[in-house]
Point group: C2
Chain length 131, copies 2
DNA sequence: CTTGACCCTGTAGTTGCTACAGGGAGCATA
DNA sequence: TATGCTCCCTGTAGCAACTACAGGGTCAAG
């Protein structure tokens, strides 16, 4: 059993974030000490680690919730898990493509700029309408 | 002169968003009709177009605010504009790199999965701690 | 004269936290 | 025993950048 601070350190999570996860129902309310302190067992540690790892991989809290409930059910619904992961992957691909397009536009804009000395700024011009 | 709805259509912006921009001081409060409707002139249209184009390029509202004030000043501070644009560019590069790393991790995870039929799910396993 | 599309203000919701404020618990030291 | 100090508690408000109401007013067409 460990305190919320210890759990936070173990999972690289801020204390407030842990309480937030509890509040939104992602983590079950843990046991309390006589002094009303939360105490967490290994299962809670595993669950929070799972959440954090999923978050690091960019899953939304809703997606994490879905993944957790699938593992909780133990129904081994691999198809659903796979779909969530693939959907997420597709979204990341989209974001990458968007950002690359953006980078291209931006770099064109920046390159057309004077570089800091000439008086009519092509960046502002590029952003302005009717040019 | 045009109504807020017309301005919204012309700039592909929701009416609520235009009012929001006004509330946070990005757009000046426009003139009103007798019936208290906002009316916008061409300058407002140009300004909102500038804002939207900047937003589309991923600039934050704070960055947009800075760009706008630079153009308002007319001081032709090209150096500052260039810096804002380059900073933004660097941030986008970072995001792209992050997402590509993420994609790699995710694809490794997904490929190791059964594909929807075998009962022990490697995705869940990959997300779980102590594996 | 009524219907419908538009507009108004003001407030609350979204995502995923983060940051207080104002207090209590628990342990070490003087 | 008193005093610090660190940790913990609850509850609320803030961030970005909108979006979505609720509950009303305005205006033109039929």
């Amino acid at each position: 059993m460990r305190s919320i601070g210890a759990l936070g350190k173990a999972t690289n999570t801020k204390v407030e974030t842990i309480r937030y996860y509890e509040r939104i129902g992602l983590l079950a309310p843990p046991q309390r000490t006589d002094g009303n302190y939360r105490t967490y067992d290994d299962e809670a540690l595993a669950r929070l680690s799972f959440i954090r790892r999923s978050r690091d991989l960019g899953f939304s809290l809703d997606q994490v919730r879905a993944l957790l409930s699938l593992t909780d059910q133990g129904t081994q619904d691999c198809k659903t898990v796979d779909r969530i992961a693939r959907d997420h992957m597709a979204e990341i691909e989209r974001k990458i493509a968007d950002l690359i397009a953006l980078r291209h536009e931006l770099s064109t804009m920046i390159e057309s700029c004077c570089g800091g000395s000439i008086s009519d700024c092509r960046i502002i011009e590029a952003l302005s309408p009717f040019d």
